[in-house]
Amino acid sequence: MPAGLAAGTVVVALALSGCGVAPGWQFAEVPGVPVSVSTGDGTRASGSLLAYEDGAFVFERTYERGEDVEVLRVDGTDYVYVRDVVVGTAVEVRDFDIVTAQRISPENVETLDVKTRAYAGWGSVIAGVLTFFVVMVLGDE
């Protein structure tokens, strides 16, 4: 019975998942493709590639909040500074991190790798492992 219930949940979830796609357009309406970018200064970062505009790629990534990271508002725009160097503009300031929009010129891009089949991440693994142990403990009792 629990297995049947689980299978039913999956079927319903999969059926509903198609709702996010607009008819006639097989891609998500909201821009954003998971990528890994390495730049000329030797840094590599993972984030989301949103657009190419005004001669630069617009790339969204997160910075963990800490002593080295701060947000300063200048003329109504929130700029993100990492070790006193501006890295982009703040899209969303959250409790633990800051979503930042960065502009990268094409000349500065060394490699650009696109992440595909990104259905599940480490969050799913952790949730799966936790569920595994919870069920095992409940089973032992």
Binding site: G20, K115, S124, L130
Partner: protein, 152 residues
């Protein structure tokens, strides 16, 4: 001992089944690897089109754009001489498919663009991945974990 080994093996299977799904593909080999990235392109000429990103290397962008015939968009010529015409101007590129979407004829055209020709371009995930991702993340991990625990 056997139970411990079984649990360890199950956890390895669980981790591989979830984390092993994702893979990175070089932007220069998107088409060859079957990766789906959508683009909405607005050119310096003002032309706007939607389609699929085939490759992105240096300042060269290869895309497969979709043109819906009607209005100022037309398909002229026969056989190998067929060409897409938008507002009276030929669109350079290779026609890869001509099909129908309801009452509208749709033409797929592969073309190569320079970044300098592009005014704006947005990148979009595969709709299937974008809509399935949250569902899989929320449901599949706990589900596999629970089923493995019940199976041991």
């Amino acid at each position: 001992m056997n139970t411990t080994l079984g649990r360890a093996a199950a956890l390895v299977v669980l981790a591989l089944s979830l984390a092993g799904c994702a893979r990175y593909v070089e932007s220069s080999e998107l088409d060859a690897s079957g990766a789906d990235v959508g683009v909405v392109v607005t050119l310096e000429t003002g032309e706007t089109a939607v389609g699929r990103l085939l490759s992105l290397e240096g300042d060269e962008v290869r895309v497969e754009l979709t043109y819906r015939l009607g209005g100022g968009t037309d398909l002229r010529g026969l056989g190998d001489r067929r060409r897409v015409v938008v507002d009276g101007k030929d669109v350079p590129g290779e026609i890869t498919a001509v099909g129908r979407d309801g009452a509208t004829t749709v033409v797929s055209l592969r073309r190569s663009l320079r970044l300098q020709e592009i005014d704006e371009m947005t990148f979009h995930r595969s709709g299937r991945e974008a809509s399935l991702g949250p569902v899989v993340a929320a449901v599949l991990g706990p589900l596999i974990g629970a089923l493995l625990a019940l199976a041991i």
